[in-house]
């Protein structure tokens, strides 16, 4: 049983890292800030989710697991806030007027 | 006050006295900050006499016991706990601080009064709370025995002194305050790094334990050498000794008169006091001889550099600020004279006042004289509406008492008899000759001439009787002139006191340096 969990952990964490890699490549390759922002928030949140999912069996339950999930939710909240703020700032900075609602 | 003096406090009294000296300004600061408005000034004026009484009591206790007062805070002995320490030198400086702050408090009442109609104003609240904070920082530095506790005390002092500089808010004073803060922070960080290395090498930050472990014979750890060098560099930045002096003149000249008096007379001395503690209480003697030459050379350069630049200043307060640079140089001449290997045979300590007493006398007389001079300059600038040295012709006829006080303070700075400055410089000169280091005498004499030069530039026109009489923009209150005169007289009276009575200053010193004081 623990072998299966370990294999699951390795697979999930590796998948998560792949998404992180994708996010970083997106950051480097995409033409302008808004698309980079898109790449970062999507890929990193998904990557982190997978890493957390993978680590859940390795961590003392229930408190360790709950902390990890809380960690992920906070990262989601941060990403959900920073994304629109940066987008808003970039839009107004580039075009000098408020974006359409 | 003399009733307290005759009361011989038993040793058990020492502990609460030290704690009161440390915590009184802190408690008063918090009370003044919460009450605010006009109460802030009243809290300060109520606390100053009590603090003066405590300082006198500490000096009496140290004199009575003939040994340093010691107190472990929280009952935890070092190296784990922090202890307080009051030897002759710190008792003297506590007394000087209390006297100067009392004078500044009385002087500043007219400048920082809450305007009628307003419940509270920015400058008065800031000044009175910052004055208490400076006092708290100074007492914490003079009483500290733990290197990190001294770091926090230095920071408390820096955060109280920097806003004093830009209390008036003009662009130059803000730039001066910012430059002062950056230099002070660099100094503090280097001091902290030195403390960290001392802890890394010897596992304690207590000065007494550190000195014991450093002197315990085995070769000194390289970390200790690096620590002493870094700490000294940091403290030199905060004392504004010659190469690191850029921040002092604009900062001390930009502050309001009462602030400049406190900054020049006291705040700069706190970091110098720590250099004394570092090189005479912590480091072993052979190292002190080595460092003494470097410090004294920088001191000599400061004397000459400060003196020459003071000659060329157009503004009165800048002239006095550069004079502070020069007089600080004198303080650093104490190191080679006290720590010189060819010290004269150990004469009877109390009767033969050595270079150490001369140095402490210079510290104290400069504090009184410089505070009086800056406050006199404040009165002159307030009365004439300008600060230019050129426009002081015939001032003596208009503001006789202020000019007289300014002249008395100048007398003490120049070191002319019978002033305290003269006694200090005389002791330093005789010690230099006794220990055969004649070149320091040349520096001191040159410094005296330069001081005479830039003070002559101010006093000659001021005392002249020819030329049109000056018109006063604003009358000067007699009470403020009396405060300035009183402080200047303090500096002069120090010279009249028979030298043998300075036994207080020697207490706690012989054991530490281990050589017969010349």
């Amino acid at each position: 049983m623990t072998l299966a969990l370990n294999v699951f952990t390795i697979v999930a964490v590796v998948l998560g890292l792949v998404f992180f890699l994708a996010g970083t490549v997106g950051l480097l390759r995409f033409p302008d800030t808004l698309t980079r922002l898109h790449a970062l928030t999507k890929a990193d949140n998904l990557g982190l989710g997978l890493v957390v999912l993978g680590l859940l069996p390795q961590v003392a339950w229930p408190f360790g697991g709950l902390k990890l999930i809380a960690l992920w939710l906070l990262a989601l909240l941060a990403g959900a806030t920073v994304g629109p703020l940066l987008g808003h700032a970039v839009w107004t900075h580039a075009r000098g007027r408020e974006p359409p609602p | 006050m003399d009733s307290l003096f005759t009361l011989t406090p038993p040793a058990a009294w020492g502990a609460p006295l030290l704690v009161t000296a440390l915590m009184l300004p802190v408690a008063a600061l918090m009370l003044a900050f919460v009450l605010g408005g006009r109460h802030a000034e009243r809290v300060v004026l109520a606390t100053l006499p009590i603090g003066l009484g405590v300082a006198v009591a500490i000096a009496a206790a140290v004199l009575h016991q003939g040994a340093t007062l010691h107190y472990d805070l929280g009952g935890w002995a070092p190296p784990l706990g922090v202890s307080l320490h009051a030897d002759g030198l710190s008792a003297t400086l506590l007394l000087t601080t209390a006297v100067v702050l009392c004078a500044v408090g009385l002087y500043a009442r007219a400048d920082f009064r809450v305007p009628s109609g307003a419940r509270e104003a920015r400058a008065p609240l800031a000044f009175w709370t910052l004055l208490l904070a400076v006092w708290a920082g100074l007492n914490a530095v003079f009483l500290g025995q733990d290197l990190f506790n001294l770091y926090v005390a230095l920071e408390l002092l820096t955060f109280a002194a920097v806003p004093l500089v830009c209390l008036r808010g003009s662009p130059q004073t803000i730039a001066a305050a910012l430059r002062y803060l950056l230099f002070a922070l660099l100094g503090s960080v280097l001091y902290l790094l030195g403390g960290a290395l001392f802890y890394g090498a010897y596992g304690t930050l207590d000065i007494a334990l550190l000195s014991a472990r450093l002197a315990s014979g085995d070769p000194i750890a390289p970390a200790a050498l690096a620590a002493a060098a870094l700490m000294t560099a940091g403290l030199l930045a905060k004392t504004a000794l010659f190469p690191l002096h850029l921040w002092l003149p604009p900062a001390h000249a930009g502050a309001p008169a009462a602030g400049s008096a406190v900054l020049s007379a006291l705040v700069v001395k706190a970091s110098f006091f720590l250099i004394l503690r570092l090189w005479f209480d912590v480091m072993p003697d052979p190292l002190t001889h080595l460092a003494a030459q470097v410090l004294a050379t920088l001191g000599a350069a400061a004397i000459l550099f400060g003196g020459i630049l003071a000659l060329r200043q157009a503004r009165l307060k800048m002239l006095i600020a550069y004079s502070t640079l020069a007089q600080i140089g004198y303080l650093f001449l104490v190191f080679p004279l006290v720590a010189s290997p060819a010290a004269a045979p150990a004469l009877d300590l109390v009767q033969a006042p050595g270079a150490w007493t001369g140095g402490v006398l210079q510290l104290v007389s400069h504090a009184f004289a410089k505070a009086a001079m800056f406050m006199a300059a404040g009165l002159i600038a307030g009365a004439l509406g300008h600060d230019q040295v050129r426009g002081l012709g015939g001032l003596g006829r208009v503001l006789p008492m202020t000019v007289f006080a300014f002249a008395l303070a100048g007398l003490s700075l120049m070191g002319l008899p019978p002033s305290g400055g003269f006694a200090a410089k005389w002791l330093l000169l005789s010690a230099a000759i006794e220990t055969g280091q004649w070149w320091w005498t040349l520096v001191m004499l040159a410094g005296g001439l330069l001081t005479g030069g830039y003070l002559f530039r101010v006093l000659a026109p001021a005392l002249s009787t020819r030329g049109p009489p000056l018109t006063l923009v604003k009358p000067v209150e007699r009470s403020r002139e009396l405060v300035v005169l009183g402080l200047a007289l303090c500096s002069v009276v120090l010279g009249l006191v028979p030298l043998s009575s300075f036994g207080l200053v020697q207490i706690g010193r012989l054991g530490a340096t281990g050589i017969g004081l010349p």
């Binding site: - | 130059q172 730039a175 910012l178 802890y199």
Partner: protein, 102 residues
Amino acid sequence: MSSVTLFGLCGAALVGLGLFGLIVQPGVLRKILAFNLLGSGVLLLFGVIARRGAAAGIGSDPVPQALIITALVVAFAATVLAVALLRRLVQETGRDSLDTDG
């Protein structure tokens, strides 16, 4: 070459970098940043000393840790004062440098 020594060398390098930045940077905000680098380098060195003092079942000597926390709070208060002075300077002179005339 243990990792603790590695962080010690990193701290020493940070002290050098912070000192260089503090002296060379013309803008005051950059000087404040350099001061914070210098401060964190010094505290890293203190942390390495604390880590080497591990004993009695504790990973690091608690006394330097307490001192580092106090020093961090002091450094923050210093940064606040410096930034406030800088903002006032920019309001008054419109410039970020210290060499105002006079």
